[in-house]
């Protein structure tokens, strides 16, 4: 057993990381699907989209050969409409509420149609938005992720000059760095950021990190308002013995490496345990398998009924050959010569309801041992508590507190996205960015 990189041939890597939801092969295929849409009124799909995309309208526009109009309909609500068409868990959002489900029929392939329209816009660099004349205001946005760029795009359209500060070397945030590569390629993420900023009025300064190169105080001085879209980043520690052994990695880092270093460069074990059952855990487990791990086991302390990921996501992992152990919590990582050899788990059972209404796992005292050479931690992320406290932002364990208007406790400083909610979908962050921009515009107008 060993951790190694370069396990597969170039062709195998290509195949394993190719698009899991390929686009329509041509216009005719898209039209067959688009014409199935009933064009519902006050449509359930639209109501189920956190950004409220007018789904029936954009699908109708595909059927009338008005693809520009269709892309505009999507982007006016969600400037990350291209990326979201690839990464949204649509089975619990728009497609999950499509009325066809009530006829026990396949829902409209909304994501695929959304990709059809937005891909054309991004590929052909359609200019779908104009900026209003300058309002003379300058806003700083921290974080070029979905929340930050969504906020920046709205602000710029309204005539504001926006400077985005990004600690990484690329924009897109978790879309670029934190999602399985078979869902959205790093190259697409780059094109998407380029398309968003092609509006003008948005300058991204890379390698700029809050608390290091920049401070809130400086930004407050130099700009009329500040928006914080700094996300979450730190993987939650397991706080068990052996966590520092070689071979214990956090899922965020693992996925980051896959997306930045190239597949052959990323090391993976023969036998891998993944702790957690959220979307990130699934992305880590499936990609470990796709990098060439022989066995991958997902370990989750509750049962399938409480899992945070969707059924569709779990099915991807199962179809990739990942094993799942329910009601198991990591107790200790054991190793030899400083390297992981075993994961000891406690058997759990379900107890009382917790504050979220889920039954809490209770330790039975029994244990079992998995022979593994790699442990990937995907038990959630924690917010940047030290950072936000250091900037004197009111927070709850690092999650920035905002009022109903998106404003923080500091005048002129707004926040949204994962930094506030602790980690939700990309599409939630996009909406948070729009809400933040609206609040900032109103603040600037009334100041």
């Amino acid at each position: 057993m060993a951790i190694a990189n370069n396990r597969l041939t170039t062709e195998q890597y290509q195949q394993n990381f190719s698009d899991i939801h390929p686009p329509f092969v041509n216009k005719s295929a898209a039209l067959v699907e688009a014409n199935r849409c009933l064009f519902c009124y006050d449509a359930p799909c639209t109501k189920s989209c956190p950004t409220g995309i007018n789904v029936p309208k954009f699908i109708k526009q595909i059927t009338t050969d008005n693809i520009k109009g269709s892309a505009h309909t999507i982007f006016i609500s969600n400037i990350f409409g291209g990326g979201c068409s690839r990464v949204c868990p649509v089975e619990k959002l728009c497609e999950g509420s499509c009325v066809y489900n009530l006829l026990e029929e396949e829902p409209i392939a909304i994501a695929k149609l959304q990709r059809y329209a937005t891909d054309k816009a991004i590929e052909d660099k359609w200019k779908l938005f104009d900026r209003k004349p300058s309002n003379g205001k300058k806003v700083a946005v921290i974080g070029a992720g979905p929340a930050g760029l969504s906020c920046a795009h709205v602000l710029s359209r309204e005539g504001t000059e926006v400077t985005v500060f990004e600690k990484e070397s690329k924009g897109g945030g978790l879309m670029t760095y934190g999602i399985a590569a078979y869902k959205v390629t790093p190259q697409f993420c780059e094109e998407e950021v380029e398309y968003i900023t092609s509006l003008g009025g948005i300058e991204i300064k890379y390698g700029q990190e809050l608390g290091k190169n920049i401070s809130l105080m400086d930004l407050q001085r130099d700009f009329d308002a500040v928006y914080l879209g700094i996300g979450v980043g730190v993987a939650r520690q397991l706080d068990i013995p052996g966590e520092d052994l070689e071979g214990v990695v956090d899922a965020i880092r693992f996925i980051y490496d896959i997306r930045t270093k190239g597949y052959p460069a990323v090391t993976v074990g023969d036998k891998v345990a993944v702790i957690g059952m959220g979307m990130t855990a699934i992305d880590a487990a499936t990609q470990a398998k796709r990098l060439g791990a022989k066995e991958v086991t997902l370990v989750y302390r509750r049962t399938e009924a409480e899992k945070p990921c969707t059924n569709v996501e779990l099915d991807i992992a199962k179809l990739d050959g990942c094993e799942v152990i329910w009601l198991a919590a990591p107790k200790e990582v054991k190793g030899e010569n400083g390297k992981v050899t075993q994961l000891v788990c406690s058997r759990m059972q379900l107890g009382e309801l917790d504050t979220n209404g889920r039954r809490s796992p209770v330790n039975t005292g029994e244990t079992f041992t998995l022979e593994v050479d790699m442990v990937i931690k995907a038990a959630g992320q924690v917010a940047f508590e030290t950072l936000v406290s250091g900037e004197l932002l009111q927070n709850n364990k690092g999650k920035i507190l905002i009022d109903t208007n998106g404003a923080t406790n500091i005048k002129g400083v707004y926040a949204g996205g994962d930094a506030v909610n602790g980690g939700k979908e990309v599409v939630d962050a996009v909406q948070a960015g729009k809400d933040g921009a609206k609040a900032i515009l109103s603040y600037l107008e009334n100041r």
Binding site: N35, F39, C40, Y41, D42, P44, K47, V99, Y100
Partner: protein
């Protein structure tokens, strides 16, 4: 098993489905394939003076992803040499003696030309003629086709010439490009035609290419009005057919119905309004001759279910139910009812009623699914919601008569009953 065979003025066919005079019937190759597939008869594509066709010839109207809801052509009558057509007609009759062979004719506009053409075609053994008084393009400029059918006087004259020479049944095909088909229908019946057929194609512009800005079909930068047919024209054809079936003069002769027949249901509708046989073209041009199988099977099953043993049992049966507006029963009233178990909450009924009708549907907000219900006191029973609802039998119309008595408009006025519902 019902008997679906047809006897039209002594012209027998194993089923009432004939192929209309058109490209599918313009040569032996196609007609033999049609007979092999099971078609009951054909109307051979119009014979007449020699012509030259253009390229392109067809265009279509698509709807919501479906192809060829309506079809349009600018083709002329047969462009093949007459003697070849005559030889092939005789050959087809010899090979399939149990099928109906009608030959469509459009001679030059003089008595001698008609007489000569009739003689030549009768020599083939054909069972009947169909006079093409309907072609709306190309031939009209030469005083033929629709220009004959649009003028009852000329049509009558030509039919008289034909009846002088013909010894087999004569069907006169009517053009729909008139305000009413009845005047010409009457004129040709009075002139002795043995039967009528309708409708020919309707003049149309199917659409314009939004890049070249030239209408379809495209011929070297230009287009012309064509003849429209296919499913889109069926309702118009049925209406015209009904007027012929209702008129005391034209209803004395049998009718062969034409106009957008695609399925056995369409065919039954034509027959219920008085067609003894039906003719099909666009549907086979889209799908090929194989559709005859379901036409026959569907008709047969329907007749069995309804207890009709021959087609004569139901031909014309719906004609008396088409009345005049002022004879409708004003006391009849029905209202929509939404079956909540079947409703999928698409909201299509609501928005149609709210924006365009009588605001008779209530919306109770839900996320993601709203609930919709009928406000019976507001509902006028227009059917719009039921027509729009995508779910079978989700919206039904429930009878709630305003009174037991039949009261029509004339009676309503006479009694001075209240007007203005809203």
């Amino acid at each position: 098993m019902a008997d679906i065979s047809s006897n039209f003025l002594g012209i027998k066919s194993p089923n009432p489905f004939w192929l209309a005079s058109a490209p599918p019937t313009d040569k032996k190759f196609n007609v033999l394939r049609a007979f092999e597939a099971g078609w009951g008869g054909v109307v051979w594509k119009t014979l007449g003076s020699q012509v030259k066709n253009v390229s392109s010839r067809y265009s279509a109207v698509d709807f919501n992803g479906g192809r060829v809801m309506g079809f349009n052509n600018i083709e002329l009558i047969s462009d093949r040499p007459l003697h070849i057509n005559l030889e092939e007609i005789a050959e087809c009759i010899r090979l399939f003696p149990d099928r109906a062979m009608i030959v469509s004719l459009m001679a030059d506009n003089d008595r001698k030309s008609w007489h000569e053409l009739i003689k030549k075609v009768e020599d083939t053994g054909a069972h009947g003629f169909e006079l093409n008084f309907g072609c709306p393009h190309g031939m009209t400029e030469r005083g033929m086709g629709a220009s004959v059918g649009q003028d009852p006087g000329i049509a009558k004259m030509v039919v008289e010439w034909v009846m002088e020479a013909a010894s087999i049944p004569v069907i006169t095909k009517l053009t729909p490009n008139v305000h009413s088909v009845v005047p010409t229908g009457k004129a040709v019946v009075e002139a002795g035609t043995n039967a009528l057929s309708l409708i020919n194609t309707i003049q149309s512009v199917t659409g314009i290419d939004l890049d070249t800005l030239v209408p379809n079909p495209y011929v070297a930068g230009k287009s012309v009005f064509g003849g429209y047919c296919g499913p889109a024209v069926k309702p118009i054809a049925l209406k015209m057919l009904a007027t012929i079936s209702q008129d005391p003069v034209t209803s004395t002769v049998p009718i062969s119905g034409i106009g957008g027949v695609s399925t056995w249901k369409d065919a039954v509708e034509f027959m219920l309004l008085g067609s003894s046989t039906v003719q099909v073209c666009t549907a086979v041009m889209k799908h090929g001759f194989r559709i005859i199988e379901d036409l026959c099977e569907g008709l047969n099953n329907w007749m069995d279910e309804k207890g009709f043993s021959t087609i004569n049992d139901f031909i014309g049966k719906s004609v008396p139910t088409l009345t005049h507006w002022e004879d409708l029963d004003i006391n009849y009233h029905h209202v929509a009812h939404i079956n909540q178990d079947k409703c999928i909450h698409c909201g299509l009924c609501y928005i149609a009623c709210e924006d365009t009708s009588h605001q008779s549907i209530s919306l109770t907000y839900g996320k993601p699914y709203n609930t919709y219900a009928i406000k019976e006191e507001e509902c006028v029973g227009c059917n719009l919601c039921q027509l729009i609802c995508p779910v079978d039998k989700c919206i039904t119309m429930v009878v709630q008569r305003k009174g037991d008595e039949y009261v029509n408009w004339k009676e309503w006025q006479k009694r001075g009953l209240p007007l203005n519902d809203h």
